[in-house]
Amino acid sequence: MLAIDGSLLDFKQLDLLAMRQTAIHRLDPRAKVLTTLIFIICVVSFGRYEISAMLPFLIYPVVLMTVGDLPGGYLLRKILIVIPFALVIGIFNPVFDRQVIMQFGPFEIWGGWISCMSILMRAILTTSVALILVAVTGFPATCEALEKLGMPKVFAVQLLFLYRYIFVLTDESVRTSRARQLRTFGRRGLGIRQFGSMIGHLLLRTWNRAERIHMAMLSRGFSGEFHTTHRQSRFGREEIVFMGGWIAFFVLFRVYNAPQLLGRLFTGTMP
């Protein structure tokens, strides 16, 4: 249970990070959202056996982390949470794909291993930039930017509500779970069946809360239209330089495999 408590606090920390005032924080959210999107598109569009070509893409998260003054250890821990999921996707590749791609003397490296590594690499890159985006922009501002960029308002509102009530919901589940734990005395209690009713209970409570929130919205004149005041943001020179520079970088390294070129340059096997 401590784990849930802990991750809840972590969420709040992500929020606090977004309140800092660095050059990156001050940029228009749209510039950061667009740059992140292009980054992700570039990374996921690499071939399945590609690893080395993705290495230059590590520069972007590292630079943002440094300029945005973000704690590396904290982000790393967050990224580690995602890695098992990526592993589950990639772990069977070595079983099915035994085509030999590389050979070092007697050691053969199967394509499956390479593609599994490639999946991991993509997971690390994409989750790190997504986390960094939220940490230097803040969740509400990110939603707002997405909306300005054409995402339907319904989705933006949905996301905002999700973010607002994830804290309340986690709090409720922590309490329920603690109450259960205190009465099971370290044993398994009634086992898995009990969790079914606990989750059902939580769902009912959520439903009730949703009703109360709707009530609160209605009593303040809500009529289906969501008005939000947009923080004034302007797309100026900094934004254009930031976006232009990084997008040029991404496209360049998407097209040319820089580590390979560098390697060839040094080993003199330039084509």
Binding site: K12, P140, R164, R212, G221, S223, H227, T228
Partner: protein, 273 residues
């Protein structure tokens, strides 16, 4: 100024499952009055409140706010006039930041950006929370949440404030602050609470509900002085009106219980009143 009055006449509400929650409730609240609605759990307080801004519609009877009889077509006007502060501030604060939350009502009213801005600032200053302006609601303490929840309603400039259990879950200091804040308002106030000491300080008039019926309606002091009435309605005198537990130990305990504090031998007690 009769236009801020609240009139409830023969209000009856039956829940879809057939439970009668309100039996022909009638009362009339005048402009500027501060009225408490008290009663045991399940007496129908919340159901009654939900009628005042038209969230529930009466099975029979009518509600008149100002000079308008509450009906489907004038709900917007009614909801602007009657500012409702819910019990759990987490239900009321649903926007990403305090500012957005307080601006929610004014924006729905279709006000211009500059006007919204000044209303938010004013409401925040009114509740002494100007420093919380850009914070997300989950970073606030219980007392702060409550004050911001009140500000979300004040920004719509309501004439009537309805508060459901305002002091619930607050620590003594935050409770004190809130009472002082509410005392400074000149709105017509309707408060439900189990905190009868707060009622004593805040409301000159009290209505007791029991099982959906009005059991008593009159000056707070008279009602709280009537022990027989309070007992039948599952209530108890506010602590401030009970005897000192050290001088007269018997006065605070239920008759069938033994006194919690044994009567002590020496007559001169060493505490101040």
């Amino acid at each position: 100024m009769s236009h801020h009055k609240v009139e409830v006449k023969d209000l009856r509400y039956v829940y879809p499952d057939g439970t009668v929650a309100l039996h022909d409730v009638s009362f009339r609240i005048h402009h500027g009055e501060s009225v408490a609605i008290v009663g045991a759990n399940g007496a129908g307080k919340s159901t009654l409140l939900l009628h005042l801004n038209g969230y529930l519609s009466a099975t029979s009877g009518k509600i008149v706010i100002g000079d308008i009889q509450l009906a489907k077509h004038n709900l917007t006007e009614i909801r602007r006039t009657v500012g409702m502060v819910f019990q759990d501030p987490d239900d009321q604060l649903f926007m990403p930041t305090v500012f957005d939350d307080i601006a929610f009502g004014p924006l729905n009213m279709g006000l211009a950006a500059a006007e919204v801005e000044s209303r938010v600032t004013e409401a925040l200053e009114r509740v002494g929370a100007a420093n919380l302006r850009n914070k997300p609601p989950y970073h606030l303490s219980g007392g702060e949440k409550k004050r911001v929840a009140i500000a979300t309603v004040l920004s719509m400039l309501p004439e009537i404030l309805v508060l459901d259990e305002p002091t619930n879950g607050l620590d003594p200091y935050a409770r004190r602050q809130l009472i002082a804040l509410l005392q400074a308002f000149h709105h017509t106030r309707i408060v439900t609470s189990h905190d009868l000491d707060m009622v004593l300080e805040l409301c000159e008039r009290t209505i007791i509900l029991q099982e959906g019926r009005v059991m008593a309606d009159g000056p707070t002091l008279d009602i709280f002085g009537n022990e027989e009435l309070l007992k039948t309605c599952r209530l108890e005198k506010p602590l401030a009106m009970q005897g000192c537990p050290i001088c007269s130990p018997g006065s605070r305990v239920m008759p069938e219980q033994k006194p919690l504090v044994p009567p002590h031998g020496d007559k001169n007690h060493d505490h101040e009143h």
